[in-house]
Amino acid sequence: MLNVQNVSAGYGKFQALFDVSLDVGAGEAVAVIGPNGAGKSTLMRVISGMIPAMAGQIEMEHKSILDAPAHKIVGMGIAHVPENRRLFPRMTVEDNLRMGCFMPQFRERFEERRSFVYDLFPRMKERRDQIAGTMSGGEQQMCAIGRALMSDPKILLMDEPSAGLAPVVVHQVFDLIEKIRSEGLTVLIVEQNVRQVLRVVDRAYILESGKLHSEGTSDELLQSKEIQKSFMGV
């Protein structure tokens, strides 16, 4: 479904990604893991259009993303839950969700999608009129995911969903991701918390210093001695 080929990207003179390629098939859950500064967030941002690619090609269902204007990418079915949630802090939960439906093609389905999100996250329904910035980290993460789901995306990009959250909350978030997966959604997750993410995805790529290091199924990676040493502190 999502096809990233030999993509390089960076910020001004600083290059963060070198010739990275990956695939995500329909219905799959794929992770990109790696240490801090590996370029994981950069990868997400190139796919969702927040930053331009310096080289390479990205295709969504065989249609090139890089040709389209950046703000139309969400219209192609790619929804991005940014690093650090990035909710609109002074708007209510419901207004945040509404923004997820901004594009004209999504607006008519607003009520339907809102019910879907509230069913998935009953806590959000309780807090629908609460100002987003006043919620806890875990609740904000839920809201951010909900906002991305409002556009009924074909693939959900998640950037470090566990960042800044307490371990108990992290566990809840990944339970949630499993739940979303069971609804059939395709997911690409970028994470530092290797243990948690590997239990919800089928495959993972390892990114280090902007370059693709290796890939494998979750089982393979969980059992790999090297992975255990580098990322799980064994």
Partner: protein, 296 residues
């Protein structure tokens, strides 16, 4: 002197003054609404905002007094003209300076201030022009006369704030305009074309200037430098109300008009302005982000 002061305080003219202050507040509120919107959303100070109002006044004057258009239609066209000017201002000036220092943005609009004044002078000349439409006064009691124009401004200002509020809180575009001032970077993930949204906001801000122009043109003569008389006040109202805070700006407008009118009642008109500006300076010291700003 105290006796005179107390006499002055309880006279019927003081009551009239207070009511006029209220109505003047309406005019100020209308003046600062557009600037506040642009301030709050795009985070730029358009120091030339009063000059855009001036151009709107000229447009209405020429369409009505010289072109014979009915005044209401001329006002609508005036709003269209200023909306276009707002759009152009962002497209060709601010749009290139979004990453620049705020002070540079302010200075660039300062350049536009000169440009608009110069252009108005060249094209329209320096004579004072009056559109020649007077709505007269409403006699509330035997002694109190209220200008219809001021009443109209007050009503229109309140209406506009309400309409704007509804637009911002109920519509998708309104939500997007609120959102972009809170996190510009991720708007792209919502499918929002930030450039277009800024242009729209600038056009709305310009259009609101046209609305202010429509009311001012009924009360005052227009000449190229008229912006200098109400420009500074307009910025200060916005800042004092808290950037982007519509309600705050609305309230600040009334605080200002009260100070100006009351000051002008007891002494020369200019002392009213001195009071208002001094209050502004003091208010800035007390609450640098504006009297009604949210604590962030």
């Amino acid at each position: 002197m105290m006796a005179e002061f107390m006499d002055g305080l309880f006279s019927i003219f003081f009551v009239e003054t207070l009511i006029n202050a209220l109505l003047l507040g309406g005019v100020f509120a209308l003046l600062s609404l557009g600037l506040n919107l642009i301030f709050g959303v795009i985070d730029v100070v358009w120091i030339c905002y009063a000059e855009i109002i001036m151009l709107g006044m000229y447009a209405i004057f020429f369409l009505h007094a010289e072109g014979g258009m009915p005044i209401i239609l001329a006002a609508c066209c005036g709003i269209g003209v200023t909306a276009l000017i707002g759009w152009l201002t962002h497209r060709f000036v601010i749009g290139y300076l979004l990453q620049a220092e705020p002070i540079n943005q302010l200075l660039a609009t300062g350049g536009l201030l000169f440009f608009f004044q110069g252009a108005a002078m060249v094209v329209f000349g320096i004579e004072f022009r009056n559109v020649g439409v007077s709505l007269g006064s409403l006699s509330v009691t035997e002694d109190i006369y209220l200008s219809w124009t001021r009443l109209l401004s007050f009503v229109l200002a309140t209406l506009t704030v309400v309409v704007l509020y509804l637009f911002l809180s109920r519509s998708y575009l309104g939500a997007a305009i609120r959102a972009i001032s809170q996190d510009r970077e991720i708007m792209i993930l919502m499918g929002v074309d930030t450039k277009k949204l800024y242009l729209l906001t600038s056009a709305i801000g310009g259009g609101l200037a046209g609305l202010a122009a429509a009311l001012l043109v009924l009360q005052y003569d227009v000449h190229p430098f008229i912006g200098l008389s109400f420009g500074p006040i307009t910025f200060m109202i916005c800042v004092m109300g808290g950037l982007g805070n519509m309600v705050g700006g609305f309230l600040a407008a009334f605080v200002f008009s009260l100070l100006i009118t009351v000051g002008g009642y007891f002494a020369e008109l200019e002392w009213g302005y001195v009071m208002a500006f001094t209050f502004f300076i003091a208010a800035m010291f007390a609450r640098p982000k504006g009297l009604f700003a949210r604590n962030s």
